[in-house]
């Protein structure tokens, strides 16, 4: 029936609030919970509960499933043995580890003022195709956006009087969670700078609090901050500016990649490898929809009379970004004309003329086309 060891002494989990559970415990379960103190064993409890052994065991099992009690020797202290983990033992400890990391996840969420379930996540980022679990993505955004709202003590989840050992125990699991090495094989996209940022902040917290002088300085700054209701962030210039820098850095990388792709495209074009060039330009365009680039590419295709259809699609991209500019529309017209699609050409020229009334070049083209169409 039940495989609970009668000699175990369950203890209530102090860090879980029963009210936060989806399915709230029954009154009987609550009653059993109130009897537990970490000393009384399951066997004894069955005798004294007045509910009968079966019911009592049932309650204990449910409480355990809800995470409301700890059973010593079950999922706790998984790596107490000192021999290297064998393959078989590994999977077992993985399971218990994952429950440890869930605990860590909950504990980390609790350190921040925001409400995790109703948090305003950056949906676009959340949807980015990367090799990270959705919950972890949420956690990263949740933590990252609020890094500046809590102090180093809160970030590590330690008391103001925490000493070296305690700090180490708080920091090490967090460093494991956010160190970029852990994601070496994973595609992390725009989460990469976020992960690194969190790691750096957690590390700064640990290093500041473990160094006597730095900690004293930090505490003083914290007091000043409290007094003036200023922010409670780190005291170094780096952390003061870290958020804007992070943005700059993301943009910076993107800009650099954009430039490189455009250069590659130009080079390929110069060598006559137009299809390859267009591929590079499209990638660049994907990074940054740049009207100028699209126009330039379309124009060059027109000049060299190659890949005219691609030319049209690039000109359309430019038009989409800047709908009021007649240039892109006129260019579409010219490309159609070059292709021999005179009707389409005429249509686009006339459209362009609407945004650039009286343009002599356009007017000339239109009358020339009309003549050609009539004859």
């Amino acid at each position: 029936m039940s495989d609970l060891d009668e000699n175990l002494a369950p203890a209530p989990a102090s860090d879980v609030d029963p009210r936060s559970l989806k399915t709230s415990p029954t009154a009987e379960e609550y009653f059993i919970l109130s009897r537990l103190d970490g000393a009384i064993t399951i066997g004894q409890l069955c005798k004294i509960s007045g509910l009968g052994a079966e019911k009592t065991l049932q309650c204990i099992e449910n409480l355990h499933r809800h995470g409301l009690i700890h059973l010593p020797g079950t999922s706790e202290s998984p790596s107490a043995n000192s021999s290297p983990p064998s393959a078989a033992a590994n999977s077992e400890s993985d399971a218990s580890k994952s429950s440890n990391t869930d605990e860590l996840a909950d504990s980390i969420r609790d350190r921040f003022p925001g409400d995790f379930t109703n948090f305003a996540f950056d949906e676009e980022l959340l949807e980015q195709q990367v090799e990270l679990e959705i919950d972890f993505k949420r956690e990263l955004l949740f933590v990252h956006q609020q890094l500046d709202q809590i102090d180093y003590y809160q970030l590590l989840g330690v008391d103001r009087d925490a000493r070296r050992r305690r700090l180490r125990r708080a920091y090490f699991p967090m460093s494991k969670r956010y160190h970029p090495d852990r994601f070496y094989k994973k595609i992390t996209g725009d989460f990469e700078p976020i992960i690194q940022n969190i790691f750096e902040r957690v590390t700064a917290a640990y290093q500041t609090l473990s160094d006597r002088n730095k900690r004293a300085e930090y505490d003083a700054a914290l007091e000043r901050g409290r007094a003036s209701h200023a922010s409670l962030r780190g005291s170094t210039p780096a952390s003061r500016r870290s958020e804007s820098r992070e943005n700059i850095m993301g943009d910076r990388k993107r800009n650099m990649a954009f430039k490189v792709l455009v250069q590659r495209g130009d080079k390929a074009f110069d060598k006559g490898r137009v299809a390859l060039a267009l591929k590079e330009y499209r990638k660049a365009f994907g990074l940054r929809p740049d009207a100028e680039l699209a126009l330039r590419v379309a124009r060059r295709l027109l000049d060299e009379q190659v890949h005219l259809d691609d030319g049209i699609s690039f000109a359309r991209m430019a038009h989409k970004i800047d709908p009021d500019s007649p240039q892109a529309v006129a260019l579409i017209g010219a490309l159609y004309e070059e292709k021999g699609g005179l009707d389409d050409a005429l249509y686009h020229y006339e459209l362009a003329l609407e945004s650039a009334p009286g343009d002599p070049e356009l007017t000339a083209r239109i009358s020339r086309l009309k003549q050609a169409l009539h004859s």
Partner: protein, 603 residues
């Protein structure tokens, strides 16, 4: 399956390891040894020799045999290290095109990354034979105190050898990984690593599989070689006193002295006294032969080298202070590196730390094992091991007046970044040069130059008005990048610091191509040898058979005729490098051989 091997590229010995089925293990070389001497030689015929083979022929080929090249990698031409090697090394060191040092062997100049690449190539081969496939990724270790130029040069060596070095990590740190892997530790340890060329000390916190480096320091010019040098000096001095001849001016004699000194040093680790006997070490102008015959006691040896040992302890002291700890905080001391087998060193370390050093790790293998552990952890993304390594030197930029402004402090955990706002110092200053440096001196010029770039187009304004943000970043793989942003215009400049490994991108690409050519050539040479052997064997067998009498038999005589001409033809190609012709000749001969055999049997 993707795999990342671990390589300890040592000054004297190199070692390669891999994690197989969760167990890290060192891969022995063809000779069955777990370490391979870091010696490279070029033979008269242009062939490269590596390891034991190279070491063995060193005496007769001293000028073209390179050892301890790690001491030179990433150093500039006028550095004291290069100066020192020019004086003491038998191989020829010349100035390279980028203010770097190169080694001239058989008329060709080799850059130091190239020399290291030859060793890495060998380690890669050792791993390939064991794994059955060529690994293309590696974690390679360097002394903790290596600066960025030395690290970049090591990375370039990997590229030339066709190995992507995904991480450069610090030797003592990896030794700690080997020590703590698979053990449930909660302790603070000191790693004392005295190898052939370098001394490193690191202090780490180990808990829950996290290896957190608290501080690290070292001396990249203090190792076993220096202990050897003391013996050489001593022997040469005694010899000079007796014979008025300085043996160190004679390349061959010096090489023999060097071998004898190391041998004596090693023997003195287990004996109180050792015999040094070098007969015919020198022949005088009048033809008289001189011999060197003496004994060296352990006591004398210790007296000659005690200051070196003390130097290591001074560095330990500084490192402890840096990490804010005292010897009492250290739970365990781990000895790594061949030199730590010297009893006096063990004793001094014990006295200093107040506890006997741990014997948990193998002094020659721990570093490579740790590198393999880190490689496996990266591939597996596993929860068991996380290394929090540090940057060993201050990093920063030159400021007005030649000062050095530190932006990232030594012993910062990486990855890390830091930014600082600087202002213009002159009225109407429109550009600013950012000089990136690494080192521990207040004066910019006394530190290592990592790179420089110019941010231009600043607004004309009174001094101090325009602000420039300079951000340093060291990524998890140790790559340093620097960005400068003009805060008014948003204009930015950035560099990835890698310009000063001593090689340009183009040169590296040429070297990669050259290395591949060499390997193809080598392979081709081996193929040719095989084909030649086949031709020779066929010739031998045919000759054996047709030597027997023809008995006037018409058919046999005809066959003999055919065989003789085929043999003559094949001999023409035997010396050529024409693989197709050799192949055809071999095929032809084998056909003839068959016919001859058939004829002989039926006769």
């Amino acid at each position: 399956m993707e795999r990342i091997i671990g390589i300890d590229l040592g000054t004297t010995n190199s070692c390669v390891a891999v994690v197989e089925g969760g167990t890290p293990q060192v891969i022995p070389n063809k000779g069955g040894y777990k370490t391979t001497p870091s010696v490279v030689a070029i033979t008269e015929s242009g062939r490269r020799l590596v390891g034991q083979m190279a070491k063995r022929q060193a005496i007769t080929n001293a000028e073209h045999t390179v050892y301890a090249s790690k001491r030179l990698i990433g150093r500039t031409w006028d550095s004291s290290e290069v100066r020192h090697c020019i004086e003491t090394c038998p191989y020829k060191i010349v100035q390279g095109p980028h203010d770097d040092a190169r080694i001239k062997l058989r008329g060709k100049e080799y850059s130091l990354p190239e020399i290291s690449s030859i060793i890495l190539q060998e380690m890669k081969l050792i791993a390939e034979e064991f794994l059955g496939e060529a690994p293309d990724k590696a974690v390679v270790t360097v002394p903790a105190y290596f600066n960025d130029n030395q690290r970049t040069a090591t990375k370039d060596a990997g590229r030339i050898a066709g190995l992507d070095i995904v991480r450069i990590i610090n030797e003592p740190t990896t030794a700690a990984l080997a020590y703590g892997y698979g053990r449930d530790l909660d302790s603070t340890v000191a790693i004392y690593d005295l190898g052939g060329g370098t001394f490193d000390i690191s202090i780490l916190d180990i808990f829950d599989g996290v290896f957190d480096v608290l501080s690290t320091a070292g001396d990249t010019f203090l190792g076993g070689e220096d202990f050897d040098a003391r013996i050489i000096e001593h022997l040469a001095f005694e010899f000079a006193r007796e014979h008025r001849i300085d043996l160190r001016n004679d390349e061959m004699a010096l090489q023999r002295l060097r071998d004898a000194a190391e041998k004596a040093k090693i023997e003195l680790s287990s004996m109180d006294e050792t015999e040094i006997s070098l007969p015919f070490i020198h022949s005088k102008d009048d033809g008289e032969a001189l011999h060197l015959q003496t004994t060296l006691s352990r006591e004398k040896f210790e007296e000659l080298t005690i200051d070196l040992v003390q130097r290591t302890l001074k560095i330990c002291e500084a490192t402890l202070q840096e990490s804010g700890l005292t010897v009492d905080d250290i739970d365990d001391v781990i000895l790594v590196g061949g030199m730590t087998r010297m009893p006096r060193i063990q004793k001094e370390v014990k006295d200093y730390f107040g506890a006997a050093p741990s014997k948990q790790v193998h002094p020659d293998e721990a570093v490579a094992l740790g590198a393999a552990i880190q490689g496996a952890a990266l591939v597996e993304g596993s929860d068991d091991v996380l290394l929090l390594d540090v940057t060993p030197h201050n990093m920063g930029i030159m400021v007005h007046g030649g000062g050095f402004e530190v932006l990232i402090e030594a012993n910062s955990t990486i990855p890390t970044s830091h930014s600082h706002i600087f202002t213009t110092v002159r009225d109407n200053q429109t550009s600013v040069k950012i000089v990136v440096l690494q080192g521990d001196n207040d004066q910019a010029e006394k530190n290592e130059l990592l790179g420089e770039f110019v941010l231009s187009g600043l607004r004309r304004a009174p001094a101090g008005e325009v602000e420039i943000d300079v951000t340093f970043e060291i990524s998890a793989d140790g790559i340093v990048s620097v960005h400068a942003t003009d805060l008014e215009t948003g204009k930015e400049q950035s560099i990835t610091v890698s310009a000063t490994s001593g090689l340009t991108e183009e040169e590296i690409e040429d070297m990669i191509a050259e290395n591949e050519d060499y390997l193809v050539e080598l392979k081709h040479g081996e193929e040719l040898e095989d084909q030649r052997a086949r031709v020779r064997k066929a010739i031998r067998e045919i000759e054996k058979l047709i030597d027997q009498d023809s008995d006037g038999d018409e058919i046999v005589a005809q066959l003999q005729q055919r065989a003789t001409s085929a043999i003559a033809e094949a001999r023409d190609y035997l010396e050529s490098r024409d693989s197709d012709a050799l192949q055809t000749a071999g095929d032809k001969l084998e056909k003839v051989l068959q016919s001859v055999r058939a004829a002989v049997h039926s006769a």
